[in-house]
Symmetry: C2
Subunit: 197 residues, 2 copies
């Protein structure tokens, strides 16, 4: 892609390129096994050892993808939560939309075994995204549009339903889902906490 090397002091730019190449591989391959260090280097058009100044080792690349995915998802959810009308629904739909738009990334984020090691491991990152849901539900209850005697728990239950749909959609690409499953299932999932009009 780029024809010349980065200028002095701009070496960090390659990191972005590497991460983009790795994400492309994940999205295309549909399997994190295809995100090997050498494959990433090939995709980025660089020599394999050039990755090391930017990533400690091969797993670090996957970790970076997952972190970036969570940052992206959380950002979108926060934007949705700022909607004036029915923010809770907006958050739910945004969540499902993200998973549908980037199924492989979603799978990598939520389908991998989570190894809590550092402060910003996937568990923590996921909790951040879920917190947006909790806050939305809490606000919904506070405004009297929803009812719940335990918003935190109900939000987790709601998230489990969303995750079930999102994950299974990301996995079973060829399963003959009804095309309107989101519209039909999403209301069912949170019907318990929502006043019927």
């Amino acid at each position: 892609m780029t024809t010349s090397r980065n200028r002095r002091g701009q070496g960090g730019r390659l990191r972005t390129k590497i991460l983009a190449a790795a994400t492309e591989l994940l999205d295309a391959g549909g399997d994190e096994r295809s995100v090997t260090l050498r494959a990433v280097a090939r995709q980025a058009g660089i020599a394999a050892p050039s990755i090391y100044p930017h990533f400690l080792d091969q797993p670090a690349i996957m970790v970076a993808i997952v972190r970036q995915g969570f940052a992206d998802l959380t950002g979108r959810l926060r934007s949705a939560a700022a909607a004036v009308e029915d923010p809770l629904s907006a958050v739910c739909l945004t969540y499902l939309e993200y998973a549908q738009r980037h199924p492989q990334r979603y799978r990598a984020m939520f389908g991998d075994l989570w190894h809590p090691v550092t402060a910003d491991d996937p568990t923590t990152l996921a909790a951040e995204a879920i917190r947006v849901l909790v806050d939305s539900l809490t606000a919904c209850v506070a405004s009297g549009q929803c009812v719940s005697d335990d918003p935190a728990l109900d939000a987790i239950a709601l998230w489990l339903g969303l995750h079930g749909l999102a994950h299974q959609r990301a996995v079973a690409i060829s399963y003959p889902w009804p095309t309107d499953i989101t519209q039909r299932v999403a209301p069912l999932i949170n019907a318990s906490w929502r006043h019927q009009p």
Copy 2:
């Protein structure tokens, strides 16, 4: 393990042993990447080429594990569905129990990308298990214990909720789930279709 080779005509027995070894590896390793052909051979205490008379190639081993898992799960669900009292709840709890007892197998069954190739590919096998849920819900409606205007769709929605919980529990082993999450979430999930007593 076994000290002598199988007798003539009993060669098929090794297949069982290989499959058991592969399942042990999956359960222990927590990652299907550890189920390599050579690792399976080591675990079974045999030479690597000895696997070939029983499995076409390495992926065939994983396929066999998944198929066996679905057969096991579907069998348990059918038993639960035969319960005299509240069969639908029994089916749901059995489902969650299976996933909790064999998290790695559950992940392999439902977390992998599903490639529909043959008539008994994972999609079909999963549909068989889900059918038990559909039938239970339908029976529940027929007996007047539940209400639903579209049992097939509601059953899928119910399954998505179950799957969300089961899968996430299988993945986030260290996540601080409330210990009573099954009891608290399961009723929420299907509250919409169940008459309150």
